[in-house]
Amino acid sequence: VRAALTLLGVLFLLPPPAGAVHGGVDRLSREAAGPYLISAWTRPEPATTAGVVLSVAVMRPDGAPVLDAIVEVTAEPLAPSGTVVRLPATREASPNRLYYAVELPLSTVGRWRIRVAANGAAGAGQANFEMSVARHDGAGIAVLVASAAVAIAALGWLARTRWGSRRRTPA
């Protein structure tokens, strides 16, 4: 039973796969990009140096999804230090197969400009947005684990106290 509970706990803490089904924070909302409209979402929020998952939807002007485009993402740090990252976003990398996704290794803290370029049968277009990237320090997980430990300890203490007082009370 202990093993099963531990397994459940571990499963609960497992992160969802890269390129989540739900887009995350909307960065571009139907931005005109040549013959296309482009929407883009990033996660996690806040974006950190641990990596940013970018999901992209390429659409026709009527909003219908374009599934045969070649999507390339360029991430450029606005500070002088840092390296430009250029990667393809693919539908295979996204659990939602109407989107294109890519995991961007944004290693430098600060502002980044992200350029999304789509190339397809109707032509080519691109759209940009800027975002901030914070340092990844693992504090989120530490806070989560600490909160869970405090909650379990508090519940245990409460149960013990109530149980003890009930047992002491004569029937």
Binding site: V1, A4, L7, L8, L11, F12, L13, L14, P16, P17, A20, V21, H22, G23, G24, V25, D26, L28, S29, R30, S39, W41, R43, P44, E45, A57, M59, D62, G63, A64, P65, L67, R91, P95, N96, R97, L98, L158, A159, R162, W163, R166, R167
Partner: protein
């Protein structure tokens, strides 16, 4: 086949945490059910119907959270409402109809199984907590407030933007769904005698009315996008954002109405059955007292 449809149908949300938890629950229930059935072959605690209800409930949770419906719910409000309805209106009552507690007890090793019921002994704190939160006066408002709060635009959009908040949304609505259906289905542990049928019927109908009152005006909004997050998503199935929004509310009202009404009908049938049984028993007692030989079979 339409490539958009193919893309939608291949958008499975592989979540190892949710998927494996569902498998673990299915295996645990099956082991307990098998042991209980071997022990008491004709018993109602491990009937085929109960197992079918529980496993269908788990399957419904799987369809809601892991199937392409989850991907669709990021693009269509109506798909998201179907997902929520599957969790609260279908999966929750089915899981409770499986009467899981005694079955899971039988999945435990012998020593633990013998000790576990003490957690629900008269003075045990868990019993006090359960008795409090399973009161209809608690479960009903808790369900209403939780489900409706999640549909406030700011909270709803936060859930769409954050995977963690979205998971929390699904966990809470499934939990309050289970709590809501608890007094209706009355599974173990039965900490107090089950509520009479008439009060269960009122409880269900009372839940249907605010849903109808709230859903109708929101569904009729024709020019206000409540959840602008969906404006960024591709349009599929020929639905505009406003049309999708209206369809979502209508679907929600329709499914709620259907489930609440059919539950009320089942409860009315059960109430009539039980009253008939009671009348027959009274008649038999009266006949026996009068010295007449009852012509009513003893095992009706």
């Amino acid at each position: 086949m339409d490539p958009v449809l193919v893309a939608v149908l291949s958008s499975w949300a592989w979540r190892p945490d949710a998927g494996l938890a569902l498998v673990l629950l299915a295996v645990g229930y099956s082991v307990g059910w098998w042991r209980l059935r071997r022990r008491a072959p004709g018993g109602s605690a491990a009937s085929v119907g109960r197992a079918a209800a529980y496993l269908t409930g788990l399957l419904t949770v799987g369809v809601a959270l892991l199937s392409p419906l989850d991907s669709l719910s990021a693009m269509l409000f109506s798909a998201h409402m179907v997902q929520h309805e599957l969790l609260t209106m279908i999966a929750a009552p089915l899981l409770l109809l499986g009467n899981p507690l005694p079955v899971f007890l039988w999945a435990l090793p012998g020593s633990l199984r013998r000790r576990a019921p003490s957690a629900l002994a008269r003075a045990a704190p868990l019993r006090g907590v359960l008795a409090l939160i399973l009161r209809p006066t608690v479960t009903w408002p808790l369900y209403m407030v939780t489900v409706w709060s999640w549909h406030f635009p700011s909270l709803y959009q936060t859930a769409l933007r954050s995977e963690l908040v979205h998971d929390l949304q699904h966990v809470t609505i499934l939990t309050v769904g289970l709590l809501f259906w608890w007094p209706v289905v009355a599974p173990a542990p039965r900490l107090r005698p089950p509520a009479p049928y008439w009060s269960r019927i009122l409880y269900v109908l009372a839940a249907a009315i605010p849903h109808m009152i709230l859903v109708a005006p929101v569904a009729l909004l024709r020019d206000e996008v409540l959840y602008p997050y969906y404006l960024a998503a591709p349009r599929i199935l020929g639905l505009s954002v406003l049309r999708d929004q209206a369809s979502g509310w209508v679907l929600m009202g329709f499914i709620d109405g259907l489930v609440f009404a059919s539950t009320a009908l089942v409860l009315v049938a059960r109430m009539l059955e039980s009253e008939e049984r009671l009348a027959l028993r009274r008649e038999r007692v009266a006949l026996t007292r009068a010295g007449a030989r009852p012509h009513i079979p003893l095992s009706e």
